[in-house]
């Protein structure tokens, strides 16, 4: 029983972080219909910011979180204007943007690899290796902090989308771009803003990821399939769905990892992706599949 509880707790804590990693992906898809394959490589960029800030300046990665979020949000604005703004009129927009973000992922990997080599890194503040004990069950502090912070950031994002004026505009643009424009929303500005928030979330996730997972520039290929399965299962564009799916899959993966073998725990995500695409392409919370 304690075993099961233990695995559940570890799964949920990691699930929180994965939810944050996926939420930016989901937001960007929801508003701009861009499947951002470069998202995980930008998370890794955020992780490097936190890593070097800790290593060179001794700044805690949690303190660095807003900084790496801001830096990547700025990068997001730049990328959107350079790569995606003109594509909005392209007939094969969604396919085109997938390929563009794929190219972007390779560029990011190349730049990061050139700068920092392919050595595995992990930020190691004290709490990353510490744990709380409740009876027989232990909760690693690093994973707990990261998981809780992630869920807090997602909650803040949800409140922003639900109640602020810009949040209204973002949601309206997601649901009906033309109608939003007719009601006076500057949809291009909203697209840039949402993209920046999405990439900023990648930066925020990056600093938390930096002490939860070890990372190197080429790691993002593993993460993209993992995050995609979370986002697709949750229903592309639904942030609540992303959170539920991340927690669910992460817990399943934790059980698979303990009972069957660590190699197969990542497999959970990939197989889940296949199953979802097969059985329910619209995901748990999506309305209808976005296709073509």
């Amino acid at each position: 029983m304690a075993d099961i509880l233990q695995i559940l707790i570890l799964g949920l804590a990691l699930g929180g972080v994965i939810a944050l990693m996926g939420s930016g992906l989901s937001l960007v898809f929801g508003v701009m219909r861009i499947v951002n394959l470069a998202h995980p490589s930008l998370i890794i960029a955020g992780a490097y910011i936190a890593y070097w800030a800790f290593k060179v300046l001794g700044i805690d990665p949690i303190v660095m979180l807003p900084v790496s979020a801001a830096i990547l949000a700025a990068v997001g604005v730049l990328l959107y204007r350079l790569m995606f703004e003109k594509e909005t009129k392209s007939a094969k927009y969604s396919e085109m943007t997938v390929l563009l973000t794929f190219a972007l992922a390779m560029m990011a990997e190349g730049v990061l690899g050139g700068l920092f080599t392919n050595t595995q890194r992990v930020t190691s503040p004290d709490y990353a290796t510490d744990a709380f004990f409740i009876g027989d069950v232990f909760i690693p502090k690093g994973q707990l902090y990261a998981g809780v912070l992630s869920l807090a950031i997602i909650a803040a994002l949800t409140l922003f989308l639900k109640y602020s004026r810009l949040g209204y505009a973002i949601r309206a643009t997601t649901q009906n771009r033309e109608a939003a424009e007719l009601l006076g929303v500057n949809v291009n500005f909203i697209s840039i803003l949402a993209f920046a928030i999405g990439i900023g979330l990648a930066g925020a996730a990056g600093s938390l990821v930096s002490f939860v997972f070890s990372f190197f520039p080429a790691k993002h290929w593993e993460w993209i399939a993992m995050l995609m399965s979370v986002v697709v299962l949750g229903g592309m564009g639904s942030i609540l769905g992303t959170v539920v799916a991340a927690l669910l899959l992460s817990v399943v993966a934790a059980f698979v990892g303990t009972w069957i073998g660590a190699t197969w725990s990542t497999m959970t995500f990939f197989l889940a992706l296949f199953l979802i695409l097969l059985i329910r392409p619209q995901g748990l919370f999506g309305e209808k599949p976005e296709m073509a």
């Binding site: 190219a103 190349g110 690899g113």
Partner: protein, 347 residues
Amino acid sequence: MTVTLQQSSASSVLKARRAHNEKLARKADQTRATWFPLALLAILVALPLLQFVGNYNYVLHLVLFTASYVAMASGWNILGGFAGYVSLGHSVFFGVGGYFAGMLLARYGISTIITAPLAGLVAAVLGYLIGLITLKVRGPSFIISSIALLMIARILFDNWEFVGGANGLTLPTNDLPVQWAKLPYYYAMIAIAAFTVWATYRIKHSKFGLGLRAISKDEIKAESAGIDTRFYKVMAFAFSAFFVGMTGAVWGEYLTYLRPNIFLLILVSANLVLMSILGGKGTIAGPVVGAILIVALNEFFVATMGASEINILGTGLVMAVGLIFFPLGLIGTLAKKGKLPRVLNWD
């Protein structure tokens, strides 16, 4: 002249008409220059004669390498270019072909050059089965499913001890002298590439190819026109996997080892997409031109900078620039402007 044209509007209309007629004439002149690909092939077949006057192994290697990508990119083009389903997981078939033929070589000593068609067939069957599942979704969802496929294959091969796991397998080398050791693979690869290009031409101009192009334009309309879209798509997937699988078979023996991190690499898939798009998706000459360009570019990056990171960065950069500025690719853009040289019109 009895009619005087004074108004500038009338003369400009005439000018436009004349230009249009010339363009039509040029288009009509776009008859295929079949001699060109044949001449190219003849040159490549004769190229190993160079070995009599010196050591040109590097040149042969480059041609072999390019030919392997010509075959794979052309194969990819059947699904990605004709049917419009972009796959980023085609290196799976490269790996499956390589491992299947490689295992036959390691166990029974049969050269992959002989078993390559069989390896292609195995890849095709696998492609058919996977297609049954993943071709249910379109656009971005299909692309994502193809990435997931590659990830799954990578984990499976990394952990499959029978084929050597992550360390892979070493294959026996042939006992030809160094000068001639590459030749069997050289000719095999040239043959595979030529066959693939010819096959894609035949497919494009068949009823099947017409159906695929209809699917790529508008799947729902294609279906209502009576095309069995599901069967067409799955067959396109199988054909496309066949050529990639054959290439993988010969490549494994040429390399003398099999390893998941050589075969099941997303960069290989990315290269296929990149070559087809840069050259011109859906055209016959496109993947060929694209493969030559990208291999040349890769060699340039590696020779001048020497690091694989630069290679990845360069590949991504070329892909992004190509997509943004020439979404139709080199052949497609030239053809649209009516400026495609006759020797490159293979369609």
